[in-house]
């Protein structure tokens, strides 16, 4: 099949960017979206042009590295799917496709479609952990965790840290990402001791990074490749209120 691609090109963080059009032929419907871009890059390389920079690593939907907005939707049209697992059979021959990077102030562009997401690491550093040094853990079965609690914590922990929630949010808010981490650890008895401190510090770090504010529109939930529910945001709101008002 054949496609008309409009791709964001930006030579560097400070340089101005623009959409560039590419006509690409010879695409197989079995290709993944990223393999389609590989094909385009091979073609550009053969023509002596510079290939398009885009991030990907595991290409099986778990590392969270790939980050493309396709026709206005982070990770593209398939629900619960990262762009590396999106296949070309979901597109029509001759279709026009717009490909853009994640757009948010905390995600500055490195080049073309590659963004810098270290802001998320900094939010994690602010409190996304249980403070337990190696070697100091009690026997794993000495702390019981109910099956339902474990399942719920897992649901939050499934976050791959891709940042699609931020890219999708009308306000570029990082709430779903932070809420997922706060909830994952806050739900488990192991993380309970630091629950108040964690939520306060992570929210503070999130605010400092310049993410937008949540206005409960739930675009994040709709695009999250791991389908993490916004109920975790409510949970974080509750924790934060408790932490701000009552904890020392």
């Amino acid at each position: 099949m054949k496609l008309i691609l409009h791709i964001w090109r930006q030579p560097g963080p400070k340089a101005p960017g623009r959409m560039e059009r590419f006509d690409l032929d010879g695409i197989s419907e079995h290709m993944s979206f990223l393999e389609m871009l590989d094909l385009l890059n091979e073609k550009l390389t053969a023509e002596g042009k510079e290939p398009i920079a885009f991030d990907s690593d595991c290409r099986e939907g778990i590392c969270g590295m790939c980050s493309l907005v396709i026709n206005g939707v982070p990770h593209g049209p398939e629900k619960g799917t990262t762009v590396c697992q999106l296949h070309m059979r979901h597109f029509r021959d001759g279709q026009e496709i717009w490909i853009e990077p994640w757009r948010a102030k905390p995600f500055p562009i490195v080049k073309d479609l590659v963004v810098d997401r270290s802001s998320m690491d900094r939010v994690m550093a602010a409190g996304g952990y249980v403070s337990v040094n190696a070697g100091s853990a009690p026997d794993a079965n000495s702390v019981l965790v109910g099956k339902d609690t474990a399942e719920q914590a897992f649901e939050a922990a499934a976050c791959i840290g891709c940042g699609a929630c931020v890219a999708a949010c009308k306000n570029a808010s990082g709430m779903l990402f932070v809420a997922a981490k706060v909830s994952h650890l806050g739900l488990l008895p192991q993380g309970r001791e630091e629950r108040m401190r964690r939520v306060r510090r992570m929210v503070e770090a999130m605010d400092q990074e310049g993410f937008g504010n949540c206005t409960n529109q739930y675009e994040c939930e709709a695009t999250c490749p791991k389908e993490i529910p916004v109920a975790f945001i409510a949970r974080m709101n509750r924790d934060f209120l408790k932490a701000a008002l009552f904890s020392s």
Binding site: E29, A53, G61, C63, V143, H184
Partner: protein, 641 residues
């Protein structure tokens, strides 16, 4: 060269305990005077970096991804083994040790494996305490499942994303130390060389992937947790970025490489669908618990599966291995699938002139257990399969084919996880020591975390306490010299300005290796590969096209450097396979098989580790040998009939 594995004396059960006592300690106040460079942020690297920082060392941690959380450990699905015996089914440290040695086809070190089994329990405790959401029973205790043909239930898991959850645990510990100022994190930073001063590893040279800046980092010890090398096959289940560069560069600087021919081919991967394919996707081996593997009995039968009647199907695993059937170990299942496809019985689309795929059929299981039960067990895997292939496995049998998955070989290390170069430590998949010639399921995560949390943090202290290290800064002329070499290499790659893309070379190399040094190997094939690899390498340096510039974010250049190293490494891999005149685990030489076509070990001549010394590109490397002594287990023939 004398290879001292430094295995402590005494009975197997007390070696590690005694060794811990005998190792020298560093005063807590002095730990902060030592800087340790940890390269890689997967399970091994991140857990080591975090733990060393907790102990008080100053740590630098490097990764080429944009966040340490993305290292490829994240993709491990199945689980992690530990000898907890929570299920009361007779498991023990000894049994886990024995299973691992046997699974590795008696080509690993007893003492290392025993230590691994010993600390496996601490790992589970540690991970649970860090908030890893392991699967639980209703009563709140940890759940287990049996995995990889083990007869006990010792595998801990978090749905099909155990690797992700364990890595997030290490990553969170690492970020805690970053916040505490004990770890300096360097993301999108790739190690391109090792700096050895007076025979001791004292630093590394990196390239900043964002702006191309070449930088030096000095420390008192260097730790490589840089993963495995099966991306040498181009198509593998590894992430796109996985590479051999750090290990290979260390090898070129004097570190010995052990058993490079030991690679694991995983049987249940989604087959290639075209020439354009960039990677292969693994599906959990657990699928073989209920799926039946078959091909058409007649070669060249292209009828759709439902039109092939029962009597014209060949359920080859059930036929060949009646007692294990579809659950035969990874290497055996993989090889049988390849044999069937080579005989022209493969199914699915023709790629490169051959149909490479066999059916994994759930029709019987669905009829027996009902669709709902199957969906409950494998729903997410079926979904993933459908997402990738566009076929519904509930109604059409899945197609699977083996794919390179893990490398058991790696840089040689002693019992302290230190290479022959003092100061250079190697952990996780990057070293060679624990899995022998074949790795059992759910053991990779165990080894990575054992090395990082519970072995290296002790042994590195011993190294620092027993070696007088002169202070070294990056102003040292050796750093300048190697920086210049690295820059020159980058410049050379850009200056070729040929006509072929980096990927085209990688693909050519991968296809060659897959055919000649993949699931089964022959003397002739390996010799052919050994003549063709230098030719490809030569053409690469004359005809590769790397667009863009060096002082910029340049993914073609990153890839070019990695492929250049694969082109050197591949030769060593084939040479090792050629020299190992036996079949064992993942290394199957067609000349060495039983009458039934099973691997035939030669314990008399090859019960050893092959350890290679670099002598120059294109020069024949030196083969050293570390004899493996089995004092506690009896060498037997692996039989799964």
């Amino acid at each position: 060269m004398k290879l001292d594995s430094k295995i402590p004396g005494g009975p197997l059960e007390t070696k590690w305990e005694r060794h811990r006592f005998e190792m020298k300690l560093i005063n807590p106040a002095n730990k902060r005077k030592h800087r340790i460079l940890v390269v890689g942020s997967g399970l091994a690297g991140a857990s080591a970096a975090a733990t060393l920082a907790e102990l008080g060392y100053e740590v630098d941690c490097f990764c080429f991804q944009d966040s340490p959380r993305r290292a490829h450990s994240i993709a491990a699905q199945g689980g992690i083994n530990a000898a907890k015996n929570y299920q009361n089914d007779g498991d023990s440290v000894w049994r886990l040790f024995y299973d691992t040695v046997k699974g590795g086809d008696f080509r690993s070190r007893e003492a290392n494996v025993y230590r691994l089994a010993e600390v496996s329990n601490n790992i589970i405790d540690q991970c649970a305490a860090m908030g890893v959401p392991f699967a639980r029973e209703y009563g709140g205790t940890l759940a287990n499942r049996s995995f990889g043909g083990a007869q006990v239930s010792r595998t801990f898991y978090a749905r099909g994303q155990t690797g992700q959850q364990l890595l997030l645990g290490c990553y969170s510990a690492l970020m805690r130390q970053v916040a505490a100022g004990k770890v300096r994190l360097h993301v999108r930073m790739e190690m391109l060389d090792l700096v050895v001063i007076d025979g001791t590893a004292r630093g590394i040279v990196t390239r900043n992937l964002c702006d191309g800046k070449i930088e030096s980092w000095a420390g008192d010890a260097v730790v490589l947790g840089t993963g495995g090398y099966v991306n040498v096959f181009f198509l593998s289940t590894n992430a796109m970025g996985c590479n051999v560069t750090a290990a290979w560069r260390a090898h070129r600087r004097g570190a010995l490489f052990a058993n490079p021919c030991y690679t694991q081919i995983h049987p249940t991967c989604i087959p290639q669908s075209g020439e354009f394919q960039s990677k292969l996707t693994l599906m959990s081996e657990s699928l073989r618990n209920d799926g039946r593997v078959w091909v058409p009995a007649e070669a060249g039968d292209t009828r759709p599966p439902h039109r092939i009647p029962e009597e014209e199907r060949d359920y080859f695993l059930e036929r060949k291995y009646p007692s294990f059937g579809n659950l035969a170990p990874r290497d055996i299942a993989s090889r049988s699938a390849k044999e069937a496809c080579d005989a022209g019985k493969g199914v699915g689309p023709e790629v490169g002139g051959q149909r490479r795929g066999v059916y994994l059929d759930f029709a019987d299981a669905i009829a027996r257990l009902g669709r709902e039960e199957i969906a409950g067990r494998y729903g997410n895997l079926f979904q993933m399969y459908e997402r990738i292939t566009g076929e519904d496995p509930y109604s059409v049998p899945m197609r699977i084919y083996p794919a390179p998955h893990y490398s058991m070989g790696g840089l040689w290390v002693d019992y302290n996880l230190m290479s022959n170069l003092p100061g250079l430590h190697v952990i996780g998949e990057a070293n060679f020591s624990d899995h022998g010639a074949n790795r059992l399921g759910a053991s990779a995560l165990m080894q990575g975390l054992a090395d990082g949390y519970f072995v290296l943090p002790y042994t590195i202290g011993h190294f620092l306490a027993t070696h007088r290290l002169e202070p070294v800064s990056t102003d040292h002329p050796e750093f300048r010299r190697i920086e210049a070499e690295v820059s020159e290499r980058t410049r050379k790659l850009l200056a070729v300005e040929g006509t072929r893309s980096v990927d085209s070379f990688h693909m050519e190399l991968g296809t060659l290796l897959w055919n000649q040094c993949g699931m089964s190997r022959t003397k002739e094939g390996l010799e052919e590969a050994l003549t063709r690899i230098p030719a490809i390498r030569e053409e690469f340096w004359e005809n590769v096209r790397v667009p863009g510039e060096g002082e910029d974010f340049n993914q073609s250049l990153e890839k070019a450097g990695r492929v250049a190293d694969f082109l050197e490494f591949a030769e060593l891999m084939c040479l090792d396979a050629l020299e190992r005149n036996e079949s064992c685990g993942g290394h199957f030489r067609e000349e060495y098989q039983t009458e039934e076509g099973e691997a035939l070990r030669d314990d008399e001549h090859f019960c050893h580790v092959a350890v290679w010394e670099f002598r120059g590109v294109g020069e024949r490397p030196l083969r050293h040998v570390e004899e493996l002594e089995f004092e506690n287990v009896k060498l037997s023939i692996r039989s799964y009939k």
